[in-house]
Amino acid sequence: MNTATAATRVRSRVALASIAVAAIAALAACTDDTPEPSPSGSGSSSATASSAPAFVPSDQSAKVLAATLPAVQGSAKGTVGKQPATLNVAEVRATAGGTLLTFWFSGAQAAPLGDQGEKSWENQPTLVDVAGKKVYEPFTFTHSRGETYCLCTDAAYARGDAQPRTIYYPALPDTVTTVEVRQAGFDKPISVPVTR
């Protein structure tokens, strides 16, 4: 399973004892005479010490590190930063409000990507709905300094192992099941299914 793309809540067990002990210790000075703070969190519930689950700190790093990169669904050879490279598309995912592209370049030689970073939305890949005859470009915003940024990963160069990048685009119509990822320097569009 690609945990990175499953925007679901993955539950990992974290026992709860020692913090409860700390909490009880911290509460030692809290008596019935002490006014209760009024919780502002939604869905709050109350419980007594006897029903409070214990908290035992436990390193759960492995749970998050179990995530794996999405598999490459399509690739094309071309040129980036004046160097031969491969454009790899891992996923085009429809989200609640947009479309998320996960991709990376690979190549044996270092390819500078100075013109393809966060300030160069015009040079980023586009998503093309061929049937609908529409081209989707990255979301942008204009910084108060005047520069326009895309909602995307900055990049310095393509070299070595995969440098995963994400770019956020406007939402595709619900009926679109496949898009082409097009990138200047890569003649062949990469057709990939839209993950929903």
């Binding site: 969190g41 700190p57 998050v64 015009e122 900055d154």
Partner: protein
């Protein structure tokens, strides 16, 4: 009698200082047969290699987007794979991330940002008045001390989200993590070891004093622009605007519409009619930064007038059309690249939806 009021709830900023004793969990995360309090929420993940050239990518995980008084707290972690060659997790954050802990708080993509696509806003981090705390966020040691095989949880404070925003797309560590539900209150319990806070050991202690003295930036959010164009890239539609590529409308340095330009204006007029736009339209000419400012200003004005005239013919009476030129003063892309210049050479038609 000592009372523990809740072991299963999150708390808001207003009560955080007096109620740090509470053992918490993410709101609404209960599951049958599983204590809600024993969950580490993973609300979305992405990967980053930053400037590292070999080895597996780091894992970026969003654990919470939580409303507190005057701010929104993002909890996220950076996980360094067991076999990562890095000796400094900062290098996994990428070329633009240096600003994350610097005074120039973004959002550049290295900073945190919260995007509300529906409201078309990108919410920025808070800024502090503290000389040595440029951002209201975890200390840099949270990354310096994390070792391969560990995931370090951090927090950062951003502008408060409007009441109606229930889901945001998070940008952090230069990656976009979409569809994160906005919840209430800080995540608890606070970890006993704070630098770093390893996933599962509790949560970072949000410095609510620092948050309380921090303020949203000006502006606290940026307008989000989403562009969709036709295959020829001649007509591009975004919120309340139809933009026409000058390279399609005109010959170089000319302000006379080409035959294709006339057809393109007709296409735009059809879109405006179909979108039920208001009847007050503004046609604005824009130029790239080639040539002088004066030349670009004059050219943009003439081009705007040409498009306005053609648009008037297409739309007929009932529309009020104003033509203005902005020269090279309002670029939407970099003028350092050919592709960027082409984007900047445009005539935009703006309107108020449903006006």
């Amino acid at each position: 009698m000592t009372t523990i009021r809740s072991s299963l709830r999150s708390i808001g900023a207003a009560t955080a200082m007096g109620a740090v004793l509470l053992v918490g969990m993410p709101a609404g995360s209960s599951a049958a047969g599983t204590s809600a309090a024993d969950e580490v929420p993973i609300l979305g993940q992405a990967f980053t290699m930053g400037t590292v050239q070999s080895g597996p990518p780091a894992v970026v995980t969003v654990h919470g987007v939580r409303r507190v008084e005057g701010a929104t707290i993002l909890y996220w972690s950076l996980g360094v794979p067991v076999d990562s060659p890095v000796d400094n997790a900062l290098s996994l954050l990428g070329p633009a991330t240096s600003s994350f802990y610097a005074g120039n708080v973004g959002p550049t993509m290295g900073d945190a940002a919260l995007t509300d696509v529906t409201g078309a806003q990108v919410y920025r981090p808070l800024v502090t008045t503290e000389k040595f705390a440029p951002c209201a966020c975890s200390p840099v040691s949270s990354l310096l001390k994390v070792k391969p095989g560990q995931a370090s949880v951090m927090w950062t404070a951003l502008a408060p989200l409007p009441e109606g925003v229930t889901t945001v797309d998070v940008t952090v560590a230069e990656q976009v993590v979409p569809d994160v539900t906005v919840e209430e209150g800080l995540l608890l319990p606070v970890a006993s070891e704070q630098e770093p806070v390893i996933v599962g050991m509790g949560w970072p202690e949000v410095d609510m004093n620092l948050v309380g003295t921090s303020t949203p930036q000006d502006p606290e959010s940026y307008s989000l622009v989403g562009r969709v164009s036709d295959l020829e890239r001649a007509v591009t539609t975004s919120q309340g605007e139809v933009s026409l590529a000058s390279d399609v409308l005109f010959a170089k340095k000319s302000a006379t519409l080409t035959a294709k330009g006339v057809a393109t204006v007709a296409k735009a007029a059809a879109q405006i009619k179909a979108s039920e736009a208001g009847t007050a339209l503004t046609v604005t000419g824009h130029a790239d930064s080639d040539d002088s400012e004066d030349y670009n200003q004059a050219l943009s004005e003439r081009r705007a007038k040409a498009v306005a005239a053609a648009l008037t013919k297409e739309l007929g009476s009932g529309y009020s059309i104003t033509a203005v030129g902005k020269g090279e003063t309002q670029p939407i892309a970099s003028n350092a690249t050919a592709a960027g210049k082409a984007k900047n050479r445009r005539v935009s038609i703006t309107y108020t939806q449903g006006q």
